[in-house]
Amino acid sequence: MLETRLGRLVRPARRALCVAAVAAAFAGAAAHAEEMTVSVWAGGTGDADMYRIDAIKMAADILSRQEAIKGHELKITVEGKPYTDWDQFKQAVTLAGQAGSGPNIVVTGHEDIASWAQSGLIVPVEDYLDLDAWPISDIYPNLLKIASFNGKIYGLPQDAESRPLFGWIPHLKKIGYSDSDIAALPGRIEKGDYTLYDMLNDARKMQDAGLVQPGYGFYPRVSNGPDYWQFYVAFGGKMQDEKTGRLELDKAALEKMYQFFIDAVKMGVTRKNHIGTPWDQWYTEVATGKAGFWDGGTWHYARYTGKEGLKDFFGSLMFSLIPAGEKGGVANTLTHPLVYLVTKQKDEHLQEVASQLVAIASEPRINALHAIKSAHLGISRSEAHIGFYADDRWTREATERLLPHAVAMPNNTHFGTYWDVMWKGLQTAWQGQSSASDAVNAVASELQGSLGDAIIIN
């Protein structure tokens, strides 16, 4: 026991030796068995997401078999490290990357690509992969675009998801919706016919009818997350100017979005202090009909039907895009794919192997294991044709209905600052510390000060 402890203490030194040994082996005769260790760190990864790492292990097995057939003995050891927490994960990846002791492969949100590519922490997988070859040729182009920065594909999407609006069907029925009305609702939302304010009104009706407690009519996400950008987009906001690639703040849209949450509080359908509610309380409540409407995630399916014990998912939950803010506006949903990224290594061969592993792990059959296990959506067209995936009603319907309308956050080094300030503003407005327009003005002036030209404010 003590020996393994000591081993851990001297580990970095050992790893350096390992790299040196690999490099030496590579420089020498390639006929010798080559051994390498590939480490994978995955952020926000709980028990259901272990295929993020296991897929790389499977890929390593396949790759070494391929190499063996070609006459080259390659032994790859995959060291996986899941982080349940995002902050710790990002600190770890960035600082360890600086120290040169980072992992070979990271699984993270696509929004990290910009900063990490800019600093040279990660390398484009495009440099090591044939984009025309399967499975990359088969991955949804919009997901590949989300994994790109500066015109290069930096990572491969690891999963897709989307953040729909959920409604509790039994409550909808009690406030006068017929079965066919409910079936038609997602379509109306998609067309921009049913708006966010219509939703608030229905939420109010549910409360007035005593179906849900005050403040539970509209019961959104309880912590900061990409979800909140959907509401900005719903009011016509844009996060990035397509043409110049600069960030964009649409003050009018942001004000309407802030006003929407202020109004929700004013109508009593959302609690003023909603943010900060514990997650497990929230899950239990939404999965048991304590709330009317909420924005969730496609992966919530696993939790609702699993731990929370929701039996009749499709009979209880209406799901749709996030409605437009105003009549005639555009409904949307946000997809926030995680991506496999390959970090820069002293030995380029490691980057090459890591990229190959990532490509193999993205093959539909392997990716489907993660998708179904964690209730995420697939990343490629052929994945939808795999029985295992297609037989799953949830992934199939969610893919068809939501993904085509999905927007994504931009890959821009300054987006984190923008996000931080937007969220601060939303909280002050929501909690009644300032009016929507004051909050927006504060956001605009802070962004002007900290980002200058990097953001267009209009």
């Binding site: 001297v10 580990r11 028990d47 997401d49 349940t84 360890a96 600086q98 002791s101 497990d280 239990t284």
Partner: protein, 274 residues
């Protein structure tokens, strides 16, 4: 005392103010062995299932015992290092004739003002330069260093309280300063050593931020990080398990405290005199 009756209000005032703590810790213990229906005040079901982490590994194959061992190593080493360095430096500052003594002593107090946690990124760079980033040894050194200002300050205070006559006698018998310190002075401040040791150990046992930032690879995971991981994100949130692990985490400290609180009290007797 004849007017003990007048003390009733004081007692009840204290009791009232302590109530939140009593409730929180009382329910902490209760909740780990029972389940409560949502909204109910009292549990309705007795169970040991929240304690299954003791014999099961978690989904990532991590056993609580290896994490605990890390915590023991961490807190133990920090205590050992911080204590030895405070003992020597405190003696030097209290008794030995060193240049800039006053300035050095003032510096020790000023050091405490450095918001070490906000210097973490810079500390990271130093650690990385000496090759100890992402190692348990590195975090131990950093955290031990962070304990030094208080440790040295307290130790200096304790040494100040040791009568000079003891050392004079030793020196007259021909012993060296070092022998005098080792043989005669250290035994005098044994309670202080225990007090500072206990204090540093408890602080190290509870530490969260330094290991998180400076040794994130997870091979060096300590209990505080393991505990935080149980409620860290929306898919990973188990309050009952969290409470049980939490109780498991503080139980040793409570036991430890029960045996050492007398020593801990003495820290403050000596430490503040100067």
């Amino acid at each position: 005392m004849e007017n003990r009756k007048n003390l009733r209000p004081a007692f009840w005032l204290l009791a009232l103010l302590s109530l939140p703590l009593v409730l929180m810790y009382g329910y902490l213990v209760l909740d780990t062995v029972s389940t409560t229906k949502p909204g109910a005040l009292l549990p309705d079901h007795f169970t040991f299932q929240h304690w299954r982490f003791l014999w099961e590994r978690d989904a990532q194959g991590v056993s609580i015992w290896s994490v605990t061992l890390n915590s023991v190593i961490f807190a133990g080493s920090v205590t050992l290092i911080a204590l030895s360095l405070s003992l020597t430096a405190g003696y030097a500052l209290s008794r030995l004739n060193i240049p800039f003594r006053r300035h050095l002593l003032a510096m020790v107090l000023v050091l405490h003002a450095f918001p070490s946690v906000t210097l973490l990124v810079a500390i990271f760079i130093v650690l990385q330069m000496i090759g100890l980033y992402n190692t348990l040894i590195g975090v131990i050194l950093v955290f031990a260093a962070l304990q030094l200002p208080l440790g040295i300050w307290l130790m200096k205070g304790f040494y100040d309280g040791v009568p000079w006559e003891i050392e004079m006698a030793g020196l007259q018998d021909g012993a060296s300063r070092f022998t005098v310190w080792w043989r005669l002075v250290l035994p005098q401040i044994r309670p202080a050593i225990a007090a500072v040791g206990v204090f540093v150990f408890i602080t190290g046992w509870a530490e969260y931020v330094t290991p998180q930032v400076l040794a994130p690879s997870g091979n060096t995971q300590v209990l505080s990080l393991y505990l935080a991981g149980l409620i860290s994100n929306d898919q990973h949130f188990d309050f009952a398990l969290f409470k049980s692990v939490g109780l498991f985490y503080i139980a040793p400290v409570l036991v430890f405290y029960a045996f050492t609180h007398k020593a801990l009290m003495s820290i403050y007797g000596g430490g503040t005199k100067g």
